[in-house]
């Protein structure tokens, strides 16, 4: 038994870790439940369970086709490894989240999305096929056409259909490691929405919201949009990482320090519209530059609350939620707002057309009550909660947001996956 947790450092559990296994001889024992674990970057309990199958060691690059950009890798390969080797050759990920420290298996299981969701959709959109271990010795190569049910259940399925072994993904061509970035400073939520609309043809966009702003300033943000330059500079040097060496005391992150941080960040941008030339790591992965940044939340850990609201309800819903958070006085270092494109037809994929907000909260008394309250507002406006970040949502609040949940449940039952693959999260929300 070993101690293990995910990125939120909450909960920390004792589990049986299975590593250095051979896919052909990984014997699942009867009456035992398993869940795959990649690089531990989901926030909550989605990759935690009694028996954890570690996938990170499966890190081979299996094939690459220069012409089409089709890359075949094992599921434990990190996005950062792909970037390290392929950016200098002029290739980039079609879809990437805000951290490059996740595995390919995790990217599929969470059907992750990034700053270009409104253009390129979710990660599954760049996946040609994946191979999955369904049960001892039973391995299936799955494409969207060959087994649409397995595909729709696995992409976004939180590892609950098996252990993803490898995948073929398409990379995209780039001509520079630099992004031509425009930063737009807005004064309130309405302006923020208008700015998103105005720049919706830009391939990449994301906004940082000052969620402790009050009154007329609620929803003020820095919206950053951009696209790759074409200057031919592809030198991609890994920067020396700064790291948080130990857990900060839990009082370090109080309301005041967050306010100061927000003020400095927002205040340092003077003009309404400004231009910057930034590199891949700065634009896509700002937090990866600080190793173990999760430790600033202290030993009790933290969670991220990420929800999405349908577009037409977003303004009202977000106003209400931001007001609620502001009134609660619970700080969030990061509040990231983004306009999403159309939903895909995977059963548990999070994105839908609308606005999503993600906020970090340290675990403390009263937090879950606040989040329950926020759930109600999210559901009232027809939104949903992101499982990859979640550690506390109730079965009822979760399932209201996902119209295909019964299909997913039935499929799991029919295939016998529910007897084999379970996480703490899947048991809590009963999927």
């Amino acid at each position: 038994m070993s101690k293990i947790s995910a990125w939120g450092n909450y909960p920390v559990i004792e589990a049986n870790l299975i590593k250095y296994w051979d896919s052909n001889s990984l014997n699942f024992e009867d009456n035992k439940e398993y869940i795959a674990y990649g690089n531990g970057r989901s926030y909550g309990d989605s990759a935690l369970g009694e028996n954890i199958v570690k996938v990170r060691e499966k890190d081979l690059f299996l094939d690459f086709d220069q012409k089409s950009g089709l890359l075949h890798v094992q599921a434990g390969v990190l996005l950062s490894e792909i970037l390290e080797h392929f950016v200098p050759r002029g290739w980039f990920l079609k879809v990437t989240p805000g951290t490059k420290l996740i595995t390919i298996g995790g990217a599929i299981a969470s059907d992750i999305h990034g700053k270009n969701h409104h253009i390129e959709g979710c990660f599954s959109e760049c996946v040609e096929e994946f191979t999955i271990l369904l049960d001892s010795g039973k391995i299936e190569v799955c494409t969207k056409e060959s087994n649409p049910d397995l595909w729709r259940a696995t992409c976004g399925g939180m590892g609950l259909t098996g252990v993803i072994l490898d995948a073929k993904i398409y990379l995209k061509k780039i001509k520079s490691k630099y992004i031509d970035q425009t930063t737009i400073k807005t004064a309130n939520l309405k302006e923020t929405f208008e700015a998103f609309e105005e720049y919706k043809d830009m391939p990449y966009s994301v906004a940082w919201i000052d969620c402790l702003a009050k009154g007329d300033s609620i929803g003020r943000c820095l919206l950053m949009v951009g696209d790759f330059l074409e200057d031919g500079d592809l030198s991609y040097n890994l920067k020396k990482q700064k790291s948080i060496p130990f857990n900060f005391p839990t009082f370090a992150l109080n309301n005041l320090s967050v306010k100061a941080f927000n003020w400095l960040y927002y205040g340092k941008v003077k003009e309404r519209i400004s231009k910057q030339k930034v590199d891949i790591d700065t634009f896509f992965y700002p937090l990866d530059a600080i190793g173990h940044w999760n430790r600033i939340y202290g030993k009790n850990g933290f969670t991220q609350y990420q929800f999405i609201l349908p577009k037409e309800q977003s303004l009202k819903g977000l106003e209400e939620i931001l007001y609620e958070i502001s009134a609660s006085g619970k700080g969030s270092f990061l509040a990231v707002l983004k306009l999403y494109g159309k939903a895909n037809d995977n059963w548990l994929s999070f994105p839908m057309e609308g606005y999503s907000l993600a906020l970090d909260f340290k675990i403390e008394p009263g937090l879950f009550e606040l989040l329950d309250k926020l759930d109600e507002i999210v559901l009232k406006y027809g939104g949903r909660i992101y499982l990859t970040k979640d550690v506390r949502v109730s079965k009822e609040n979760f399932e209201k947001g996902y119209p295909n949940i019964e299909k997913f449940r039935e499929y799991r039952k029919e295939m016998g996956f529910d007897k084999r693959f379970q996480s703490l999260q899947s048991k809590r929300v009963k999927i």
Binding site: K19, Y20, L60, F61, L62, D63, F64, E81, H85
Partner: protein, 243 residues
């Protein structure tokens, strides 16, 4: 670009070392028994680093075959790294000499057989480097693994002698003494997390130490001090201890 020969290439440390060298542009020979199981790993090296990676079938216990295998390499390596290791079963080795012999021959005799050949070639060419992966277990005999430990102690002494012999022709020999490493070999042991290195950390240490021309490397670094303490415990005290 020049080749590095990695012997015992199926071990996790060896694989991590292969990636370090490939990352610096070296081509790689991966040698070991039933080496075709490393087919996919060799391809991984060529895709990641755009270098050549070749598999060399080599049984460290088949001493007689070593010369011929070395001769058959198209391009002679500029560096040889031995990562051969067999922990074995101490209890079994106490009862069954075959197990004891297997531990000794894998960790010591076989490596000597091979490195003799390499050393002669490097001495003649007046170039090259040798990295031998030994173990902190060779620094002092403990009841839990002294057959393995004594074979590693012999290897450490052999490498020390080799370094002495080859220093006049500018061939560097690095002795590596890893402490706890999280690998397949140790996956069933309950290792203390803070003292345990990943294969990647060990590989980086090895690459850096070799490139700087160092003689002895403890990895992670604090093992030098842990072993210093363990070595200074007087024998009358040590013999009653359980560590």
């Amino acid at each position: 670009m020049s080749y590095i020969l990695i012997v015992g290439a199926k071990s996790d440390i060896a694989k991590a070392v292969a990636r370090e060298y490939a990352n610096s542009g070296y081509n790689i020979y991966l040698a070991g028994r039933k080496i075709d199981t490393l087919d996919a790993f060799a391809k991984d090296l060529t895709i990641r680093y755009q270098i050549e990676a070749k598999l060399v079938e080599l049984d460290i216990l088949n001493f007689k075959s070593h010369q011929e295998i070395y001769n058959s390499l198209d391009k002679k390596p500029v560096g040889v790294i031995t990562a051969v290791g067999y922990l074995g079963n101490q209890e079994l080795a106490q009862k069954d000499f075959n197990e004891a012999k297997r531990i000794i021959d894998t960790n010591y005799t076989g490596v000597v057989s091979l490195l003799n050949i390499v050393a002669n070639d490097f001495e003649e060419r007046k170039e090259g480097f040798i990295v031998g992966i030994s173990s902190v277990a060779g620094d002092r005999g403990r009841k839990s693994n002294y057959i393995y430990g004594s074979a590693k102690a012999a290897l450490t002494t052999y490498l020390s002698g080799l370094r002495n012999r080859l220093s006049s022709v500018n061939v560097k020999v690095l002795t590596v003494k890893p402490g706890f490493v999280d690998t397949q070999m140790t996956k069933d042991l309950d290792l203390p997390k803070k003292l345990t290195a990943t294969p990647k950390e060990v590989a980086k240490d090895i690459f850096n130490a070799q490139q700087k021309g160092k003689d002895i490397l403890y990895t992670k670094w604090f093992w030098r001090y842990i072993m210093l303490i363990i070595k200074t415990i007087p024998e009358w005290k040590f013999k009653n201890m359980s560590i």
